[in-house]
């Protein structure tokens, strides 16, 4: 990578009274990168954005933009634009005036006709061209959210900070806007830090993704890295619906995985000390129904169990299978699941390379992945 990172956070800490919002957070976003910050509510996502924007003062650590330390630099001098989850639109003004606000400010002033042109472009892009004369109070939540996004996109900025900018749109519009945001990101190459609690959104948008929990960065990486090599069960659980299966068990002296009730054993690709309490992770879409067919990746592993329940997910079906005392869910094409009724015995196949091995979860500390 050439030049300094666009956004660098080192050991940033922020407390509100007794509550710790950020606990030594590290983050690096490269110039022009579209970075998604994923985490549950209360993980410190919004605080991270506000700290970068200069709206909150961290009590520890440093914030750098383009390699320059931002300590004490006012928000209006940082050159970043932020879209608030609450929209933070000026309710007493029209949508147009809200979009025009940055372009009328002393720092980003544009001549009126240029501003009008630019606002027109953005409004059309976001599909709010017809709403510009409306008072913000008379817009729906989805419309407000798009105006808020427009207020960010309309102005030049070294970085966009977007806080759940699509959360209030209906599913269809959200998908369309996601595509649009990706396109904007690709064309503009403006560094974007995008906060969301929706892993689908993060996977769809992010060049890289950071998973945050309790004010700390758990793992950053590309979507492939996070999907295939999650650092712990928390990250593994964060991606994929239905969620990854995490089967508790132990490592046998031969280095096999044995389920906690001893109902089955599977060989492990990674070496683990015998006797360790572990969890075996396997994603529902990595499990096949029926006897293993000789696929390219070596011999598939086989499991047998009984159907517990089936649930239709559009074109696919989620099948929950009982194996001993454990439950395992898998997703198969609808046709394959036809005729499956509860208690019917089934055979399952899974490729050995799709198995992930984690330490057992401990209170407040998800199990780490065991790798070679």
């Amino acid at each position: 990578m050439t030049g300094p990172a666009a956004i660098t956070l080192r050991g940033v800490g922020k407390r509100y009274g007794k509550n710790t919002a950020l606990d030594g957070l590290d983050l690096e976003v490269a110039e022009g990168e579209f970075f998604c910050l994923l985490g549950p509510s209360g993980a410190g996502k919004t605080t991270t954005l506000k700290t970068i924007a200069g709206l909150e003062q961290p009590q520890a650590g440093t914030v750098e933009l383009g390699g320059a330390d931002m300590a004490g630099v006012e928000p209006y001098d940082r050159g970043v634009a932020m879209c608030f989850e609450s929209y933070a639109l000026y309710p007493h003004r029209t949508a147009y005036d809200n979009l025009a606000s940055p372009l009328r400010s002393p720092r980003h002033r544009l001549p009126a006709h240029e501003a009008r042109e630019r606002i027109g472009e953005i409004a059309e892009l976001l599909g709010i061209g017809a709403l510009l004369d409306r008072q913000v109070g008379r817009l729906s939540n989805g419309q407000r959210q798009r105006v808020a996004l427009g207020r960010v996109l309309v102005r030049p900025a070294r970085a966009f900070l977007l806080d759940e900018p699509l959360s209030h749109l209906d599913a269809k519009l959200r998908q369309a806007m996601r595509a649009e945001l990706r396109a904007i990101g690709a064309v503009r190459r403006t560094t974007t830090l995008y906060v969301t609690h929706d892993s689908v959104e993060a996977l769809a948008l992010g060049d890289r993704i950071g998973v945050i929990r309790d004010g700390r960065m758990v793992q950053t990486g590309t979507r492939e890295e996070l999907w295939h090599r999650p650092c712990d069960t928390f990250v593994a659980r964060s991606f994929g619906r239905p969620r990854i299966n995490l089967l508790p068990g132990t490592v046998t002296p031969e280095g096999h995985f044995r389920s906690s009730d001893g109902a089955y054993e599977l060989p492990l690709a990674v070496p683990a000390p015998p006797g360790t309490a572990v969890q075996l992770g396997v994603r529902p879409r990595d499990i096949g129904l029926g006897a293993p067919a000789g696929t390219g990746g070596g011999p598939a592993l086989e499991l047998t169990g009984a159907v517990h329940v089936t649930e239709l997910l559009g074109r696919a079906t989620e099948v929950t299978v009982r194996i001993g005392g454990q439950r395992l869910s898998l997703v198969v094409p609808r046709a394959e699941a036809a005729g499956l009724s509860p208690d019917r015995p089934v055979r399952l196949s899974v490729a050995p390379e799709s198995l992930l091995l984690f330490e057992a979860d401990r209170p407040a500390r998800p199990g780490r992945r065991i790798s070679t």
């Binding site: 931002m70 004490g72 050159g79 892009l125 030049p156 904007i184």
Partner: protein, 316 residues
């Protein structure tokens, strides 16, 4: 949605050209700068208060411009003077009487208005009228009406055989008349707050009670009153504290008379300090009243906090 993507503006001012760092100490100074004027002004008001406290340690009076230090002598004199205790009794009687009547009447008016009958909707618009009239003007109005010989009240009572009542000329009559004026002015205050409270009560408990077939009295005792109480309490606190320091109404209506029958503490302090120009002694009176009001406020405000918490739980 068009597939077009907005172009980037060419200007390079996104990078924040002149970055000036504001040191942390200046940042933390910011809120203080905003309150400095208010602090100065408050100081300007606290100064005479402090000066007053200082005066009470002397026997400063117009007849004694070169005062001597008397220490707590003024306070000792006040607290051993029967006149002070008489005044204290009158003041408490006035405050309790006025606040009690205003609370009951105000809540009643609020409940009646809450039904929002056509008559009520019209009347509600003029509810605040007495409250916006200066209390001293209200007292003047009532003084004119309560004149024993030519006042309109006695004239209207005459047909009922009640003419010639000595409203403000008997000790009991004077106190009751002053309370009546207080009630006339301030009942809308209680009513307005209680009405706001009634209108903000959640509907669901009442719907549930109606479904259960609860009677009017039960609903009122078990639901309306407990949830309304925090609102009413705010009103009661304001009214009680304010009537402890009543001045205008009594000054205009009776000036403390007849005898000392309406000689509340602020009136007596006024007479001592301004009319008889015994400054130190008059201020000492006020300091005693101030201390009492302050203590009562603390107790009541704390109680209000507890009540508000409890009411919030009831609503949950």
């Amino acid at each position: 949605m068009p597939g077009r993507t907005a172009s980037v503006p060419t200007a390079g001012h996104g990078a924040g050209a002149g970055k000036r760092a504001v040191p942390a100490w200046r940042r933390s100074l910011r809120p203080y700068l905003l309150i400095v004027p208010a602090l100065l002004l408050t100081g300007g008001i606290l100064y005479p208060f402090g000066l007053g406290l200082y005066y009470t340690l002397f026997d400063f009076a117009a007849s004694k411009p070169q005062p001597d230090l008397v220490g707590v002598g003024n306070y000792r004199r006040i607290l051993t003077q029967p006149a002070f205790w008489d005044s204290a009794r009158v003041t408490v009687a006035y405050a309790v009487g006025a606040a009690a009547v205003e609370t009951v009447l105000g809540v009643a008016v609020a409940l009646l208005l809450h039904r929002s009958s056509p008559v009520g909707r019209v009347l509600e618009k003029i509810l605040i009228l007495p409250l916006m009239i200066a209390p001293v003007i209200a007292a003047i109005m009532w003084k004119l009406m309560l004149q024993p010989s030519v006042g309109v009240v006695n004239h209207l009572l005459e047909p009922f055989g009640l003419g010639g009542v000595q409203w403000t000329d008997t000790p009991t009559g004077a106190l009751l008349s002053s309370i009546a004026v207080d009630v006339w002015v301030y009942t809308p205050f209680v009513a307005i707050l209680a009405l706001a409270g009634l209108r903000s009560l959640p509907a669901s408990p009442f719907e549930a009670a109606a479904v259960d077939g609860a009677g009017w009295w039960f609903t009122f005792r078990r639901l309306t009153l407990p949830m309304l109480w925090p609102y009413v309490l705010v009103a009661v606190i304001f009214r009680f504290m304010d009537s402890l320091k009543v001045f205008d109404i009594i000054y205009a209506l009776t000036e403390g008379g007849p005898g000392d029958s309406t000689m509340v503490l602020q009136i007596r302090a006024y007479l001592e300090a301004i009319r008889f120009q015994r400054y130190s002694f008059g201020i000492s009176y006020m300091i005693v009243l101030w201390a009492v009001v302050y203590l009562v406020t603390m107790v009541l405000v704390r109680y209000l906090g507890r009540i508000q918490n409890r009411a919030a739980e009831v609503e949950r």
